[in-house]
């Protein structure tokens, strides 16, 4: 029995992570409910006038998606670190930067993807113009993948820390900001009848860059963290 090829191994990891997610349906439903509730907080906090709300809908939805991602990113490698699986992963002969992509992929499938798909419901609740729904979903699809990759870097650097705590939010929130800007700009553009394409293209370019570089940073981060 020889070690499986990297691609096959990644697929196995992906299935494992998805299986783990399915074992905690709460965990999957939760970002959605969190999304719903935080969206509900805004009218409570900012005042419920429909006109003003609609103006801020794109920002509110994007900020909420970002926070929801922030909340779940910390857990990407945490449980594997705590039960010793991460050690085993680091010792595996397959290249680590591919393996981590499987983790991030599973994270995105169980948070970002779902969030993007249900976001139109909340957009309607906030009176976002229907013309912008397409841009919203598209920007969230690309944007949450980016957020997951960035969050993975933060998670990999902090997973081994005894004294880490919420450190991850400090590390990754500044890096999240460009994503937020372009994401909400895309929706805002669609609301005002302008093309959202350029913004989505920029998000896409950033995603390509992140897919190429983030796994390397994550692999390095994990190797360091296991030795903290």
């Amino acid at each position: 029995m020889t070690a499986p090829a990297a691609g096959q191994f990644c697929l196995r990891l992906l299935r494992r992570q998805l299986l783990l997610a399915v074992r905690r349906p709460v965990e999957i439903g939760n970002p959605l409910l969190f999304f719903a509730m935080v969206v509900a907080l805004f009218p409570l906090g900012l005042g419920p006038a429909p006109g003003t709300l609609a103006g801020f809908a794109s920002g509110v939805l994007w900020i909420t998606a970002l926070l929801s991602n922030l909340l779940t990113s910390d857990a990407v490698f945490r449980s594997d670190f705590e039960d010793g699986s991460l050690e085993q992963l680091l010792l595996a002969p397959q290249p680590l930067f591919l393996s981590v992509l499987a983790y991030i992929g599973a994270h995105w499938l169980t948070t970002g993807l779902l969030l993007a798909l249900v976001s139109p419901v909340f957009a309607l609740m906030l009176n976002l113009s229907t013309a912008a729904l397409g841009a919203l979903v598209a920007s969230l699809l690309i944007g949450t993948a980016l957020l997951s990759l960035i969050g993975g870097i933060g998670a990999s650097l902090t997973v081994g820390l005894k004294r880490g705590g919420m450190l991850i939010s400090l590390l990754i929130l500044p890096l999240y900001m460009p994503v937020l800007i372009f994401g909400s700009a895309a929706v805002q553009a669609a609301v005002s009848g302008l093309p959202a394409g350029p913004y989505l293209a920029i998000l896409g370019a950033m995603l390509c860059l992140a897919i190429a570089l983030a796994p390397l940073a994550m692999a390095a981060g994990l190797r360091i963290s296991i030795d903290a």
């Binding site: 870097i153 650097l157 902090t158 820390l161 005894k162 004294r163 880490g164 450190l167 400090l170 590390l171 929130l173 500044p174 890096l175 900001m177 460009p178 800007i181 372009f182 700009a185 805002q188 950033m206 860059l209 570089l213 940073a217 390095a220 981060g221 360091i224 963290s225 030795d227 903290a228």
Partner: protein, 248 residues
């Protein structure tokens, strides 16, 4: 090339060389700072619109310029430490982070003080200001990450990774924030006042910028010397140094 690298990797040599650089750089820095400050604060005209309050420019702008440059110094040191596994690059990176954070804070603080009389408010969500704030967070992230690790060697590597990630992101952040500002441009204030800068104000400003660069270098070297002593505290040469210094 290699011999220099090798020497740079040697703590006693670096400690000594940093000491001898400081010996002449520190006086020069202080001199330039004092001259620049006196020239700028006492011997320039009050500005037409802002009166005297503009004089804070002699601290604000140099601090902002150096804060940004400091990040690249830190990230570069991080890259060297990752690629060539040079321990002294770790030291440089670790030493640069708090200094850079301090300069960023000075820029933010003086900017806020300046904003009150000129804009009537302490803070505006302007592109430049916002990106400066993000830079401050990036610095703090590096400092906090270093503190959170127990194994300081691992801490340096982790910070190196983080500062490299940050370096890739800084242009993106700046670009995006600029864009964002341009998008929402409304009643907000533009503050690139280059046109209003008179050459009589310009020269002391340039001097101050130079002085701040030197100040940054001094702080960096001082910090590095402390860090080297801490890391090497068990070695023979540090013990010898300590006993020599302790002798009456």
């Amino acid at each position: 090339m290699w011999p220099i690298f090798h020497k740079l990797g040697s703590p006693p040599w670096l400690y000594a060389i940093a000491g001898s650089i400081l010996r002449w750089l520190l006086p020069i820095t202080l001199l330039a700072l004092v001259t620049g400050a006196v020239w700028g604060l006492l011997f320039t005209q009050p500005e037409r619109i802002q009166g005297n309050s503009y004089r804070i420019i002699y601290i604000h702008v140099p601090a902002a310029v150096v804060a940004l440059a400091g990040y690249y110094v830190m990230a570069l040191a991080g890259a060297v430490s990752l690629i060539w596994r040079m321990k002294m690059a770790d030291v440089a990176m670790k030493a640069a982070a708090p200094v850079g954070a301090a300069f960023t804070f000075i820029a933010l603080f003086t900017g806020a003080i300046w904003g009150k009389p000129t804009w009537g408010t302490w803070w505006v969500w302007d592109a430049r200001i916002t990106s400066m704030l993000i830079l401050f967070f990036l610095y703090l992230g590096v400092v906090a990450l270093y503190e959170a690790f127990d194994n300081k060697e691992a801490a340096s590597k982790a910070c190196a990774v983080l500062s490299l990630v940050g370096m890739v992101n800084i242009p993106i952040i700046y670009k995006s924030v600029d864009w964002w500002y341009a998008l929402h441009q409304g009643a907000t204030i533009k503050f690139t006042g280059e046109s209003s800068i008179d050459s009589s104000m310009m020269y002391p400003l340039l001097l101050m910028i130079g002085a701040f660069y030197a100040l940054f270098t001094c702080c960096l070297l001082l910090n590095m010397r402390v860090e080297i002593l801490q890391r090497e505290s068990r070695t023979q040469w540090v013990k010898k140094l300590a006993t020599k210094a302790g002798r009456p």
